[in-house]
Amino acid sequence: MSAPAALAPSIGRRATSLGRQLLRHPGIVVGGTMLLVVVFFAVFADLLWTVDPLRIQPRARLRPPSEASWFGGDMIGRDVYSRTVHGARVSLTVGLAVAAISIAGGLVIGLLAGFVRLFDSIAMRVMDGLMSIPSILLAVALIALTGASMGNVITAITISEIPRVARLTRSVVLSIKERPYVEAAIAVGTRFHHLLLRHVLPNAAAPLLVQGSYIFASAVLVEAALSFIGAGTPPSSPSWGNIIAEGRAVFQIAPHIVIFPGIALAMTVLAVNLIGDGLRDAFDPHFVGRT
């Protein structure tokens, strides 16, 4: 199943064979396609038959979905379809930013903890403490202090995700340091940056990529939950969470306001989770032949 990468003569061929291998996992193909659709809508939100998501049309209040207005109107007459399409931007931006920043931050902390013993004992206690605070609550506390904005939402979710990445990176470093070839490399005086680039990072890349996709999914969910309880993006920028929150009071007479953004949200998270599961199975030889 897994082609021994060492035999591949060039990096280019190694990359294509890796790509082919990934495409063999249905989760990656299905999830990837779904995610591409969401990305497409987010990027071209203004062109895809949308109207201004903030424009209020009193006559469209609570209007059920119809041919003219696919997802209907909300309680003050804004177009739910346009708002949902624009909401994709918020979710994807938050997901991507949180995944990228927490991987970068967690990687630095994890590497330092893995190599510097003094730093390790202090930083890991802080990480343990952070991990003991349920992530939504930590984010709520931070946002209550700093105010609701997209930047603050990203910061708040990132802070609660960093410890997981740091722990993962640290465990990779610690297990790598024990391997004979790394001990040998250290013994012959390999430079530190060489050790990092040749031995540690390649081994950390796969688990971090998998972790990154789960962080993406979790960040999208947490952002929506924060917006839903009133601690997320301000109402002026429509996000799936705050569209649903606004439809809360009228959801029994106008369920479409809740359902359509809800489906978009669930579909996006499902797509990313499928990709994450696919990547995990693809990288983990343990799972080969089991599924």
Partner: protein
């Protein structure tokens, strides 16, 4: 055993201390004047000054932390801006619905997840496995509030089997209590069930591959005793561990599902505190919930010996 319990209990102290330091520092690291935040938006300048003195904000950081921490040890979580009452009282008042909801969700999740995970592992690679794991991925992806509204629309608005929202204490009868609790517990428990089912499958697969499983079957032991008494018991440690770690999902979910179902619990208190900008309440809830989470995981740690007698303390 007693020694081990004591040692584990002591080990939670530094974690809780770090949590307290983090929660305390948030207020002081964030931009803005702590006294202004704690006094609330309607406070006058005199009130803010008075609070600043009372909190010792002119003192150095460590003194301030000491003062706050001593109060914490006495159960003083501060004063709510909106209610003007101790935060601890407010939390205790709303504890019952939250505890009831959490326990119901936990029971629902475990009774759903264990059979699913066991069947998935036993029929690994077959249709039953695919269905169970498909369900698990879906469970992971459905946001708590979206699931909540879908369930309300179906079971309450469309079928009219269950009440839409609200809460009835268990003291007013088990029937009404369960009718109100069914949908919130399902909503909150589903993600948790998905997580537990996945780990159950993985842990069971590990055990089912062991030689003693074949021996058990070969000596003529029936399928159910083999799966439950021999396999599940040996797979219990990772399953119990994830029940502990996943408890965070319940705590986070409580905040959202109490809002969806209009349950007057701690989650609802938190959401109201966000809208009222009542920071002391939020701080108190974060501390209490984190302590509960650490405690749950301590209990999980201590329970390992029950499932695996090889683990001795």
């Amino acid at each position: 055993m007693l020694f081990y319990v004591l040692r584990r209990l002591l080990a939670t102290i530094p974690v809780m201390l770090v949590v307290a330091i983090i929660v305390f520092s948030l207020l002081y690291l964030s931009p803005g004047d702590p006294a202004t935040i704690l006094a609330g938006e309607q406070a006058t300048l005199e009130e803010i000054d008075e609070l600043r003195k009372r909190l010792g904000l002119e003192e150095p950081f460590l003194t301030r932390f000491g003062l706050w921490f001593m109060g914490l040890m006495r159960g003083d979580l501060g004063q709510s801006i909106f209610f003007g009452r101790p935060v601890l009282d407010l939390i205790l008042q709303r504890t019952e619905p939250t505890v009831a909801l959490t326990i119901c969700a936990l029971l629902f999740a475990v009774t759903l997840a264990l059979p699913l995970g066991i069947v998935a592992a036993w029929r690994a690679g077959r249709i039953a496995d695919r269905l169970a794991m498909g369900f698990a991925v879906l469970g992971f992806s459905l946001p708590v509030f979206v699931l909540g509204y879908l369930l309300i629309l179906f079971f309450a608005t469309y079928l009219r089997w269950l009440p839409v929202q609200g809460y009835t204490p268990i003291a007013e009868g088990l029937g009404p209590f369960l009718r109100h609790m069914a949908l919130p517990a399902m909503t909150l428990g589903l993600v948790y069930a998905a997580l537990i089912a996945r780990i159950t499958r993985a842990a069971m697969l590990e055990v089912l591959g062991q030689d003693y499983m074949r021996t058990a079957r070969a000596k003529g032991l029936g399928l159910m005793p083999t799966l439950l008494r021999h396999a599940l018991k040996n797979a219990a440690v990772p399953i119990v561990t994830v029940i502990g770690i996943g408890f965070a999902l319940l705590i986070s979910g409580v905040v959202v599902s109490e809002t969806v179902f209009n349950i007057p619990g701690i989650g609802r208190l938190t959401v109201d505190a966000i809208l009222r900008r009542d920071y002391p309440v939020i701080q108190g809830v974060v501390l209490v919930f984190s302590a509960v989470y650490v405690l749950v995981n301590l209990i999980v740690d201590l329970s390992y010996g029950l499932f695996d007698p090889r683990i001795r303390y």
